[in-house]
Each structure stands twice: as structure tokens, then as C-alpha cells.
Symmetry: C2
Subunit: 424 residues, 2 copies
């Protein structure tokens, strides 16, 4: 009990300090924020030795805990990776300041002037897993948008995150940024997440980034508004009127170029008129790329000689993030849309066709953050959209949908100036 | 157990039907939606007798259940009130269609065309209390924005709501609107709310409207994104440099014109240099308007002869929605801002001053949906902002802040057209 209350106090004290800093943050001029980011970038490089050292301890412990090679790789900060993080900070300096913009202005007949002005959220809590680059991304995006940030990274990256935040804060010492604007939760018990996401009034927004389990737990327990990110059960539908060359290139790219990311496809839908012609070809091409195919009965039947494994319902519902691809033959674009409606996660969905009417039907009726005609789903990304930065990809419809950049980390307020108006 | 599972099935069947209708709704042309609204308006008037009859039963039962006069009044539909509801439908017909607008367009160098297009949310669940006009407001706003709507009104208004929805649906019979787009939950057990707000995947947005208890319960239990509405612990700060004539008029208007609404003020903050001069005057003016004053020690002391009751901490934290007003003397605008930070609910906050610098500081540092300089807080309202309609006033920062009109009932998606682009 004493420990639980100590944990609670520790987390809430940090949340409170972050909240206290927001008033000062909200009114910082762009130049001060950019100068602070510059100092962060310099300080990260200056303190690289202590960062690498901390990272080494984390990696050593990760080996001892027998984490997978994959997770250890995500955890590791090489000199190159640190340079990339710093490069990311420089990119954020270059971007325009999204705060303090007049978004709309109304002039009602009573003489009031009503301005809708962009403002920071206040305090954003980032809850994430092993990648330490999220620490610097989130911290820099928060600084630029005038938000305070509470960072709750994974247990296995704690020493690294502490070193990164210490270096960043060291850089901020000589700037106008209140140091309380950046808080690292160094308690990695699960409960520290629950305490954070229930700190309504102190935290304005929670962004979870990580596996489906983490995200669902945050949604289920949060009292603070959440932006749901990331899970991508994405589909590509090849219509009977597709340019088959485009179909092949997009299919391979959307699955193979980087299967472990959320905008890679997880099921291929193919019009039945292509089962005899294009389908066997693409399956062979996937085999050459080392992709395991799981087919619907029609797929299995149409390419008997290739001995395709039969797909299960569960396969259609799974975000594999791996070299596995269910293929389903459909009768029409309507059936493709219905399949996506059942199994999709509203992330990214694409059609390949030369029939504009069918393309438009697909684009209008598929309910997802990003819908594509004749392009790979892999473009759903803040950098590809030209945002210059990305805090995550929203799969919900409230506030932000798809890639979230700087603008998506702001809210707005109405500022009304009068000359004594009262309501009659 | 059988009853619980029956309730569950009944609610979820309706949510599922609503979800099924969204695909068709999302692509309806503006003319079809306006024609449908016209039919709703006509049908409401045509079926007025059955509406009044149903309302009479509800009111009779309300008397038997000894509901307060106030609540019975809110429940009642007079001919005039029905006409007002119908007038509201006509106003929504006049407004522009917020769906299908290209909000932004990007042309990256790879030749993709990326359009950000406004779309409906999908299914919106409205959870509200006794006012039956919310039923028609919500239904009409949903139709115009291409959203399906699930209506869960208060128990005491059930017959009235059933008659209103039946009339509206009768009108929709000869239109392109799928009737499943409008669902009334006729199970008024508390559990029906819990089932609704946890129907993630079937419902895209929950908007609770009503008392603080209802709103908090929805936030605590919802798995679907929620827009928090309504609770307004609003303040008015009279600065030492105020035009005292404006100060008096705005103070009286913001408190007295309609004390029962969320944008009325709940505490008056007064600069200490006004305690000898303006403060006694305004207290007398409030007394003349029947307002009970509760003062801080300085207020009580400065107007000894008026025998003001002493205010408690709880008074500052209370949204009275009544003719009661705590008054607190502060040393500075900073102290006023700090008081608002502690007790405010981010709704509407105002300053009266002729000092522009102090006004700007207040407008920038007070974190609320709407901040005012020299005007009454009573203007925080969708109609006053020129939105032509209002579904509620958001006090959160995610998605929508302040009055929510048609635009706030839409989300967006990215529609990307390519010529075979793949990511390298």
C-alpha cells in the first residue's frame, strides 16, 4: 500500500509540474522554441557518450532477459541512429509554428469579433514501447507545439530514455523553456500507465504507440481523451480492370518493401476474373520474395500446383506484420468493400483499377484514414505527406485521422473581443 | 441474466443496423439530404396530435413521479415548441453541406495527388436527459452531416421521443435515407447506456448532454471516443482599469439573463482597487435582481453593511446554475488567472478592462474554449457564432472546442490518386 501510494504520488507530481508549465509554454514565441530545439540537438550530441553508455546497459540487460533480436535491435542507439534523431530535431526547427494561427474569423452583427485561434493541447502523455527515438521525436514535437510532454517509455529502454531526457534538459537549461515541460516517468510498473491515463485535469491528451495490447489497455482505462494509433490490417484490391503491371508492382511493394510496419498490406483481394491469369503469377512472385501465401478456397483451387495453404477467418483478422499474406478471391468491388468493412482497421486501403467509376466507388465507400487508387498503401506516413514529422498514425475519426504532424498536436480556442456587448 | 442478454441484444442490433446504413448515408447528395429534412419537418407537423398525446402521457407520469416543475417544464411540448423544433429543421436545410469538401490538397514530387476530404463520422450516439427537442436537433444534424444517429434520451421522455422519431421516420419513408440511420433506444435502463458506449466498432462517437453525473459516467465507461460537453464553471474578472459601466452591464447580463445555462457566470472576480467603489454598487444591483451573494473575506469586510454570506471553497467549485454568485477580490490579473485555472471547467471566461495589455495576457493565458474581452460569457453558443445550429458545447480540447455545429460532426479521410506509385 505504501509503495502504491508512493508510485501514485511520484507520477502525479510529475503530471502536476507539467500542467503548471503549460501557461508559460503556450505563449512562447517561435524563435524561443526553435532556439530551444537547437540547444536540444547540440546537447544530445555533446552528451552522446553517456547516452551510448546507458544504452549499452539496457542492451546488456535485454540480452540477459532474452529479448528477441528484433526487440534488441529496436532498442539499440548507434552513432548513426543518434545522428538521425538529431537530424529529426533539425527538421522540426525548419517547420512552421502551428500555434497562434487565426483559423477563422467571424463578424456577427452585434459587433463582436470572434477569432478561432490555434493553441497547444497543454499536457500530452506519450505511452510507448522499446524504441528510444520516440522519446526525442515526442519531446521535440511537443516543444515546437508549445505542449508539455510526459514520456512513459518501455521498461527495457529506461536507462537510455533517462540519458536522452537528461541530455535534452541540459540543453534547455539556458533557454526560456520551463524544464518541467518535459517529464520522464521512471517508474515502469504497469500501474504508472493507469495512474497517468486517469489523471484527468492534469493531462489533456494521451497518445499510445505500440502493440495492439498496449493500445487497447489505454483505451479501456483512460479518462483522458485518447488518440488511437497504429494497428493496420490493410488491404489491396485488384479489380478485373486493373493494369496488371501496376497490380504486380503495387502488390509486391505494399507487402514486401517493409512488412513489419502498419501501412503494409495484410490481405490481398483479387477479382475472380483474374484467377486464371494474374493470380498464379503474383503468387509465384510472392514466393520468390519469401512471402507465405494463405488462400481462400478459390485461390487454393485455381493454383492447385502451387499447393497454397488454406486461409482461416483468423488469418483475415490478423495484422501479421510479417511475410505472410492471405489472398481472397471476390466477385466484385462490393464484395471487396464488404470484406474490408468486416476485417479492416480503418488504416489504409487501396484499389488497382483502370475503371474510374469503380475506383471512385471504392474511394467513397471504404471507411479508412487513407484510401488509394493505383498506389501502394506504404505512403500513409507523415513524411510522405510532407508534414515533415509524425507523432503516429491515427485510426480513429475524432480530431485526427491518418498521419499526425505538428498541426494535429494543437487544439483551438475562440478569442472574442467586444466593446461591452451583452446578450438580449 | 436472460433479461440482461436481451437488453444487450436489443441495443447492439440497433447499433449494428445504424452502422450498416452508414455506407449509403456517406455518399448521399446534398439535395437528397435536404429533401429528407423537408419531409421530416412536414411529417412532424402532420403527426402533431400523436406527439402531443404521447407527451401528455409522459407529463402525467412525471407529475405522478413528483418530478420538479422545472423538469416537467423541460419535458413539455407545446404547439409553439413543436413549431420551434420544425423551424430548427428548416434552418438546418438552409446551411451548407459540410461533407465532401476538399479541405487540403498536397502534390508530392512523386506525382501522387493527396486530398484531405471531409466525411461523416459514421454512427453518433447521443445520450441525453429530459428535453425532447434534443431528439429532433440531433436527428436533423445527423441527417445533414450524413451520419447515422442512435438516440438515448431520458426515461421520462420516452413516449414523446418515440412519437417524435416515429413521425420523423414516417417522413423519411419516401426518401433516399435508409430508415436504419435513425435508431431510438427504447430501453431506458442505465445499462443500455453502458452497452452503447462500449460498442466500439459499431459507434464512432458518443456525445453526452446533461448533468455532470451523466457526463462523468459516460467518460468513465466509454470505449468509444467521447466529446465532453457542457459543464460551465465560468468566471468574469473585473480589472482595476475596467470601464465600470461596461463592468456592471456585463456582470448583470452574464449572471442574471439566464442563470440556468452553462455559459452563465458562477463566480465574479474583482480587482482589490474596486472594493471601496464599484463592489458595493454591484452587490446592491445583484440583490435587486434577486441574486444571493457569497463573498470572500475581503468582500464581506468591504461591504459590512450588506451582510454578505461568506463563500466556501466548495462555492468556488460549484456550477450553481442558479441565482447564487460567489464574489472574490483578487490582487491582480495573475491571481484571477490562477483562480480560474484552479476552479474553471474550460468553458467560457471573461475580462472587463480598458487595459489592452492586461486583456491580451488574460486572453492568452486562460485555457478555456472561449475567452472574452469586454463582452458577456453568454455569447458562447452555436447560433451566436453563426453556425446556424448546435449539438452541444465541448469543454475538451480533442477535435472540437466550444460550440459544435455541422462541421464539428464531420471527420476527414485522405483520398490518394496515383498512376502506379510504389514506395522506394
Amino acid at each position: 500500500m505504501i509503495q502504491a501510494s508512493y508510485l501514485r504520488e511520484s507520477v502525479l507530481t510529475k503530471a502536476h509540474s507539467a500542467k503548471q508549465s503549460t501557461q508559460q509554454l503556450a505563449i512562447l514565441p517561435t524563435a524561443s522554441k526553435n532556439e530551444a530545439l537547437q540547444k536540444v540537438a547540440d546537447s544530445l550530441w555533446e552528451h552522446r557518450k553517456s547516452i551510448f553508455m546507458a544504452n549499452l546497459y539496457d542492451i546488456e540487460e535485454a540480452y540477459q532477459s532474452q529479448l528477441t533480436e528484433n526487440r534488441i535491435d529496436r532498442l539499440m542507439i548507434t552513432e548513426k541512429r543518434l545522428q538521425n534523431m538529431i537530424e529529426g530535431v533539425y527538421q522540426i526547427i525548419q517547420l512552421g509554428d502551428p500555434v497562434g494561427k487565426t483559423l477563422e474569423i467571424f463578424h456577427p452583427s452585434n459587433g463582436l469579433v470572434i477569432k478561432k485561434v490555434s493553441v497547444p493541447f497543454g499536457v500530452i502523455a506519450m505511452i510507448y514501447e522499446s524504441r528510444p527515438n520516440v522519446t526525442i521525436d515526442a519531446l521535440s514535437l511537443a516543444l515546437k507545439t508549445g505542449n508539455a510532454v510526459i514520456l512513459r517509455g518501455g521498461k527495457e529502454a529506461l536507462r537510455t530514455n533517462m540519458a536522452l531526457v537528461a541530455a535534452a534538459k541540459k540543453g534547455l537549461e539556458k533557454t526560456q523553456i520551463p524544464l518541467d515541460a518535459i517529464q520522464l516517468i521512471d517508474k515502469t510498473e504497469r500501474e504508472s500507465v493507469d495512474i497517468l491515463i486517469q489523471a484527468k485535469g492534469m493531462i489533456d491528451l494521451v497518445i499510445p504507440r505500440g502493440g495492439a495490447g498496449l493500445i487497447q489497455r489505454v483505451i479501456q482505462n483512460s479518462l483522458v481523451p485518447v488518440i488511437e494509433t497504429g494497428v493496420g490490417n490493410c488491404h489491396l484490391y485488384i479489380d478485373e480492370s486493373a493494369d496488371l503491371n501496376k497490380a504486380t508492382q503495387i502488390s509486391i511493394n505494399a507487402k514486401v518493401q517493409r512488412p513489419s510496419v502498419c501501412n503494409a498490406i495484410e490481405t490481398l483481394l483479387v477479382h475472380q476474373n483474374l484467377t486464371e491469369t494474374w493470380l498464379p503469377e503474383i503468387i509465384k512472385a510472392f514466393y520468390e520474395h519469401g512471402v507465405e501465401i494463405r488462400g481462400c478456397p478459390k485461390t487454393v483451387k485455381s493454383v492447385k500446383d502451387l499447393q497454397v495453404i488454406e486461409a482461416t477467418e483468423e488469418d483475415y483478422a490478423t495484422e501479421f506484420l510479417d511475410q505472410i499474406l492471405p489472398i481472397k478471391v471476390v466477385n466484385s468491388v462490393e464484395e471487396a468493400i464488404a470484406h474490408i468493412k468486416t476485417y479492416g482497421t480503418s488504416h489504409s486501403e487501396a484499389i488497382v483499377t483502370e475503371n474510374t467509376k469503380i475506383a471512385d466507388q471504392f474511394l467513397a465507400q471504404v471507411d479508412a484514414s487513407t484510401v488509394y487508387h493505383n498506389a501502394s498503401t506504404r505512403f500513409t506516413d507523415g513524411f510522405e505527406f510532407g508534414f515533415g514529422a509524425e507523432i503516429g498514425i491515427s485510426t480513429q475519426k475524432l480530431h485526427a485521422r491518418g498521419p499526425m504532424g505538428l498541426k494535429e498536436l494543437t487544439s483551438y480556442k475562440y478569442v472574442i473581443k467586444g466593446t461591452g456587448q451583452v446578450r438580449t
